[in-house]
Subunit: 430 residues, 2 copies
C-alpha cells in the first residue's frame, strides 16, 4: 500500500517575457509558469504534477492547490486504482470549492496539477510511462476513469466501452509502430508575433532544414502584417507542408470569418482560437463559413462539457485538449473518447512549461486505444524550457519518441525548481 502523506505546492516562473518567446495577439509578454505540486508517500515514492500559467496569478493556482490538498492527502493508491473515477469526483466534489468554478478557472487549473501528480505517482509505482499504463488498461478499466456526468446525451459508458473494445485487439501493433517511428509533430517555434520578419524567415527555413513537416504561425495582428508573414513562411515551406494559423481569441465572429477568408490564399490547414473560447455557437458559425479550413480550439476549453458541445455542434475539426486546463488525466480521457466517438482528430495544445512532456502521453494513448488513426493527428512542439525536465521530450525527424521512464514526464529538475521559484529563487532575485 502507498499512502499520500505530503502535498507541497510551489510557484515556479520562467522569465520568458524577456525574449518575447510565446508572444501572440492576446498574450504579448508571458512568463511561462507552473503551479507545481510534489506528492510524497509513506513508502518514499513521489508524484509530480503541475498546471501551466503565464505568470502573474500563478500564486492563486498554488493557493488553490493548497485548498484542494485535503482531498488528496491521506489517499492510498489502491483506492485510486480501484475506482479512479470516484477519485476524480472526490477531488472535484468539495461543494464549497466547486462554487468557485464549477470546473473552470483557478480551481480547475489546480485540480489538473493535483490529478496529474496522482497519475504520475501511480505510473511510477507501476514502473510504466503513463501512456503505457493507460494502454495496458482494459476498456472497462479505462471507462472507470471517466466521470460521465453531463456527457450521457453525447456519449454514455456503454458506447465508450464499445469504441475501446473495437480497437483493443490492434493496440499491440500500434504500440510497436509508435516505439519504432514516434508520433508526428509540428512546430510552433516559427511564427510568434513578437518576432521580426527576418527572424520569421530564418526560423521557417530552419524548420524545413530540421525536417519539420508542418508549422504554425500566429495571426491576429494588422491584416497586412499577417499576410506578409504568411507569405514569407509559405515561400520557405512550400505548399506541400501544412501551415496552421493561430489567432489567440482576438476576433469577434464576423471578423474571424472575414479575416480567415482574407488569408485563404495561403491555404491555412486550420484557424486556431478564432474567437472567445467559450463561444460554441460562434465557432460553429465560423466553421461553416471557412470550410474547408478547419476550426481548431481547446487550450482554453475548460472542461468536458464545453468539448462535448464543440463536437455536438460540429464547431471544431481539430480537438486541442490541454493537459492542464482540463482537470487532469481523467478528464482528458473523457475528451479523447468524445473526440474519437465524433471522429474528430485530437491534436493537443503543447508548448508552455512541460505541456509537450505531458501531451505526448495523451497523443500516444489516443492513437493506441481511442482514435486509432494518424490521419490529421499531430502534436504541437515548441522548443522551450525542456532542459528543466528530468525526462524531457525526445524528438527525431519531426516526431516525438515515446517516453520510456516511469511516470507522466512531469518532474522538473530540483535545481531548476530552486532557481525559478517565485519570488525567492535566484532567477527572480537578480
Amino acid at each position: 500500500m502507498t499512502t499520500i502523506t505530503g502535498v507541497r505546492a510551489r510557484d515556479i516562473r520562467f522569465p520568458t517575457s524577456q525574449g518575447l518567446h510565446g508572444s501572440d495577439a492576446m498574450n504579448p509578454d508571458p512568463d511561462y509558469s507552473a503551479a507545481y505540486v510534489v506528492l510524497s508517500t509513506d513508502d518514499g515514492l513521489e508524484g509530480h504534477g503541475f498546471t501551466f500559467t503565464i505568470g502573474r496569478g500563478n500564486e492563486l493556482c498554488v493557493a488553490a492547490i493548497e485548498a484542494l490538498a485535503p482531498r488528496v492527502h491521506g489517499l492510498d493508491l489502491d483506492t485510486v486504482r480501484a475506482d479512479p473515477g470516484a477519485f476524480w469526483r472526490h477531488v472535484t466534489g468539495d461543494s464549497q470549492l466547486r462554487w468557485l468554478g464549477p470546473e473552470k478557472g483557478v480551481i480547475h487549473l489546480a485540480t489538473a496539477a493535483l490529478v496529474n501528480a496522482v497519475w504520475d505517482l501511480r505510473a511510477r509505482a507501476d514502473g510504466k510511462p503513463l501512456w503505457r499504463l493507460l494502454s495496458d488498461l482494459s476498456p472497462a478499466e479505462l471507462i472507470a476513469c471517466v466521470d460521465f456526468r453531463y456527457l450521457t446525451d453525447a456519449l454514455d459508458p456503454g458506447q465508450a466501452r464499445e469504441l475501446l473494445e473495437e480497437r483493443a485487439p490492434t493496440r499491440a501493433a500500434r504500440i510497436e509502430e509508435m516505439e519504432r517511428d514516434g508520433f508526428p509533430a509540428y512546430t510552433t517555434s516559427t511564427g510568434w508575433l513578437g518576432y521580426t520578419d527576418d527572424e520569421v524567415r530564418r526560423l521557417a527555413r530552419e524548420a524545413v532544414e530540421e525536417g519539420w513537416g508542418d508549422v504554425k504561425m500566429k495571426v491576429g495582428g494588422p491584416p497586412a502584417d499577417d499576410a506578409k508573414r504568411a507569405a514569407i513562411i509559405r515561400e520557405e515551406i512550400g505548399l506541400e507542408r501544412r501551415l496552421m494559423m493561430d489567432a489567440n481569441q482576438v476576433w469577434d465572429v464576423p471578423e474571424a470569418i472575414e479575416r480567415t477568408q482574407r488569408l485563404a490564399e495561403f491555404e491555412p490547414y486550420w484557424m486556431e482560437e478564432p474567437t472567445s473560447p467559450d463561444d460554441v455557437l460562434g465557432h460553429a458559425a465560423i466553421a461553416r463559413a471557412i470550410a474547408p479550413v478547419r476550426v481548431a480550439t481547446g487550450e482554453h476549453c475548460h472542461n468536458r462539457v464545453m468539448f462535448k458541445q464543440l463536437l455536438q455542434a460540429e464547431a471544431i475539426g481539430v480537438c486541442q485538449v490541454d493537459a492542464c486546463r482540463l482537470g487532469g488525466v481523467n478528464e482528458v480521457l473523457a475528451v479523447v473518447l468524445l473526440a474519437a466517438h465524433h471522429g474528430v482528430p485530437v491534436c493537443p495544445h503543447a508548448g508552455g512549461v512541460g505541456l509537450c512532456e505531458l501531451t505526448q502521453h495523451i497523443s500516444l494513448f489516443d492513437y493506441v486505444c481511442a482514435g486509432a488513426s494518424l490521419e490529421g493527428r499531430m502534436l504541437e512542439y515548441v522548443d522551450h524550457l525542456h532542459e528543466h525536465f528530468l525526462d524531457p521530450v525526445r524528438m527525431r525527424d519531426g516526431r516525438y519518441i515515446p517516453p520510456e521512464q516511469p511516470g507522466y514526464s512531469a518532474a522538473i529538475r530540483g535545481d531548476s525548481l530552486d532557481e525559478f521559484e517565485y519570488p525567492g529563487g535566484a532567477a527572480w532575485r537578480s
Copy 2:
C-alpha cells in the same frame, strides 16, 4: 477629482451551514461568504463591493482581488466616468491574469468585487443609488459602459443604442411607478432541501400569509421526495401562485427532461439549473422538451459570451443574471441588454450574502431602461443576512422598495465585518 488610493480585501464568512439554510442538491452545507473589498480615496470617500462564495475558497477570491488591485489603485473617478467600458477592459485586460480564466472562475469573481466597488464609489460620489445613476445615463453613456467584444454577432452597439433610445422617453413614468409600487419579488425561503416536510409546509403557509405571490422550491433529491414536497407546497399556495423549481445542476440532459416531465403535474413555472451551467446545447434540448415549462439559468453563467449563446440558442426563457458571477456592473449591463434584445425576461439570482441588496438595482435599471416590462419579471428574495447590511433591502407586500441611499447597497456593517472575518473574527474563534 477623486482618486482611489487604497484597496483592502477581507475574507468574510457566515456560518450558515449550521442551520442548513441554503442547502440544495448540489450544495448541502454552504457557509455564505463574501470576498469583500473597500476602496478608499484621497478625498475621504469609500467604495464597497464583494463577490459571493459559499465558504472554503473564499480566501482564493480575496487573493485574486489583491492580484487585480493594481488595475484599480490610482484610478481617478473622472477617468472611469469618461470611459467606463475602457475601465472594465483595463480591469479584465491583464494578459497574464486573463490566462487564469479567461473571464471565469476565481479571477472573474474577484473582478466582480472590484468593479462593483468602483460603481458603489461612483454612485456615492454622485449622491445617487446605483439604479438611479444608471437610469439617469443617456443611451450613449450606457452603451459606453459595455464591452461588446465577442457580442457583435448577436448585438452590436448600434442595435443596443436603438433599443435604449426607443425606451428612453418613458423612463420617468417607470421610475415613478417603481418608487410608488416597488419591484415584484418571489421567495426562496420556503423549500431548501435540508428542511423537513413539516418545515416546508409551515414556511409555505407563512409565505402565503406574508403576501408572497410566488415561491421557489429545491428539487433534485429522490424523485418521490421532490413530488411529495411539491404537493405540500401546492396545497399551501394553491394554483394561482407560481411555483418555481430549482435543480441546482444535478441532472444530465435526458434525466432533466424526464424528471421535469414527472413534476409537470405540479405546474412548475420554470425549471432552474436543470444541468451543467456550461451546457448551452443541453439547456436548448431541455427547453424544447419541457415547454411550456421554462428553462431558467444564470447564477453559474460566468460571462456575457455564455449568456449570448443561451439566448441565441433559445435555451432559456428566464435570464438569471448574477451580480457577482459576472464581472460586475458593466458586464451585467451587457447581459441585460442582450436579454432585452432577445425578449427574454431578466429575473436575477439573489439570496446568498447581499445578492438581494445588489440585484434590486439591476432589476430596477432593467425595468426603467431596457426590458421596460414587468411581464415575467420577478426578483428572488431570501430572508438571510440582511441585518448585516448598512442599507438593507426593504420589502413591502412581496415587493422590493427601491433603495434611496447613495451607492450600490453593498456595504456591510463594520461590526459584522469584524465579527465574521475569517478566521480571526469572534464568530469563528468560538
